[in-house]
Amino acid sequence: MKKKKITKKTIQHVLMGSFALIMIYPLVWMISSSLKKSENVFVNSHSLIPTEWHFTNYIDGWNGFAGITFGTFFWNSTIITVIATVGSIASSTLIAYGFARIKFAGKKIWFVSMMLTMMLPFEMVMIPQYIMFNQFGWIDTYLPLILPTFFGIPFFIFLIMQFIRTIPMELDEAAKIDGCNTFDIFFRIIVPLIIPAMMTSAIFSFYWRWDDFMGPLIYLSTPEKYPVSLALKLFSDPNSVTNWGAMFAMSTLSILPIFVIFFIFQRYIVDGISSTGMKA
């Protein structure tokens, strides 16, 4: 009986293990190609161990193109991501609190509208949005990428609302009796209790902004202002790339922040997806 159990376990591990390895092969391949000499990337390209370790790819790649280094692009991405994330979380938390706890006229209509925009893909509104921001004179600035986040992100509002609903109303009432006004209740009672939901939202916001490609693609035109995603696209243009190693090196580097956040905050991510079905 015991032996049978061990065999079963072994089979499980062999099957799951090889499946998992096949699935992450492309990622490992990308990292390993970033360490191969450019001429060797496409010779026996499936091999994962470089014949010689070529770390200079990272230096070559970092030099970027047109005199702009990847340092600039990473800085741009960081600025956009951090400000947009702060904006998303601050506004979404406040809005969620309003929907969950405050009675106001037309609440139902506003809530339904909010949920409808959650279902509405960005691609469907990008053209009217572009025309609008164009008339504001915001093209080639970060405003179209950052400012909308200060008006709430429906997914996060929904997630945080679900969380606020689990906090007993008695807490609010007790605080009210002790002399707290609506804002005191928000900052002293609600916020400390919904930190996990805010963390989950912040992590997803980070992912979406860091990976955002369509936004920068349509709004930015000066290469100095490009975030990593857009710069990488230009850097990898199939007609001009010769230094394959450097291209793989910068690709790898661009997803490094995502990996790091993922491994530090895995628990929040898994919880977030399991409870709301957000896509990463």
């Binding site: 499980q12 591990h13 099957l15 799951m16 499946f19 998992a20 390895l21 699935m23 992450i24 492309p26 990622l27 391949w29 990308m30 190609s33 990337v41 496409f42 010779v43 026996n44 390209s45 499936h46 279902m119 509405l120 893909p121 691609e123 469907m124 990008m126 053209i127 572009y130 025309i131 164009n134 992912y207 860091w210 990976d211 490609f213 369509m214 349509i218 857009l230 990488l232 696209k233 990898s236 394959w244 291209m247 793989f248 910068m250 690709s251 790898t252 661009s254 997803i255 995502i258 990996f259 993922f262 895995q266 991510i269 898994v270 997806i273 399991s274 079905g277 957000m278 896509k279 990463a280």
Partner: protein
């Protein structure tokens, strides 16, 4: 951008009657969504079921299998994919190493779309996590009770697991169908719509119309058409769900 003129329904007339590229992009998108979405969902469900059975190191497997989804949205992955399936890429290199014929996957209009479908299917991680959470929510007592009544694992799967998972399947299906119709980055970066428009996804064509030809009116009309298509699909899925989705509270 020019000054907008009122032209009534001209954009729609042009779209439906005299723009073969529009119909091509429609065809490509329906094929892509119709194949890639079921592949991802079935894959996610099977892997979640397998993970649910594994007793040890579930966390490690879950992390590894979720990784492609975590990074999948980034440009880096699309760029890597183009090289992976390139003529000298790793995929051909593997085929050659095991003695199979190689192929110009991205150059052949018949296979290029499949590289995008595989890319979509590869990122099954988020759906897998949602399924896994759904599986964990099924009370163990249901299985115990049914095995007392003599139900085997296969029967249990069809009378307990699948029915109790249907709300999660519904949710996943709707989200994935929308995402499938909205795909842009893969076709923009991996194939740029080619060869001969065989991977010209709808949103890519819309983007080209709006930002390469600056034909904003036409592109907006395209957005409306797609929005209506998505709304119809969502409504159909919801409507059909009355027949196949099982909510636990119904049975009381």
């Amino acid at each position: 951008m020019g000054t907008p003129n009122w032209i009534g329904l001209d954009n729609y007339t042009r779209m439906f009657t005299s723009d073969p590229t529009f119909w091509q992009s429609m065809k490509v998108t329906f094929f892509y969504a119709g194949v890639a979405v079921p592949i991802r969902l079935v894959f996610a469900l099977l892997v979640a079921l397998a993970l649910n059975k594994v007793v040890e190191m579930v966390g490690l497997y879950r992390t590894l299998l979720y990784l492609p989804s975590v990074v999948g949205g980034s440009i880096a992955v699309s760029i890597m994919w183009r090289q992976l399936f390139g003529n000298d890429g790793a995929f051909n290199s593997i085929l050659a190493a095991i003695g199979l014929p190689t192929h110009s996957w991205l150059g052949d209009p018949d296979t290029a779309i499949w590289t995008l479908i595989v890319l979509y299917g590869w990122q099954f991680g988020s759906s897998m996590l949602i399924f896994l959470a759904g599986l964990r929510n099924i009370p163990k007592t249901f299985y115990e009770a049914s095995s007392v009544d003599g139900a085997g694992p296969v029967r249990q799967f069809f009378i307990i697991t699948i029915p109790l998972l249907t709300p999660v399947i519904l949710f996943n299906t709707i989200m994935q169908v929308i995402q499938g119709f909205m795909a842009f980055t893969p076709s923009f970066v991996v194939t740029n719509g080619g060869p001969v428009n065989s991977t010209l996804l709808y949103v890519l064509y819309m983007y080209q119309r709006a930002f390469e030809y600056f034909d904003m009116g036409y592109a907006s009309a395209m957005a409306w058409v797609m929005l209506i298509i998505i709304a119809i699909f969502t409504a159909l899925i919801f409507k059909s769900s009355e027949h196949w989705v099982h909510y636990e509270s119904d049975t009381k």
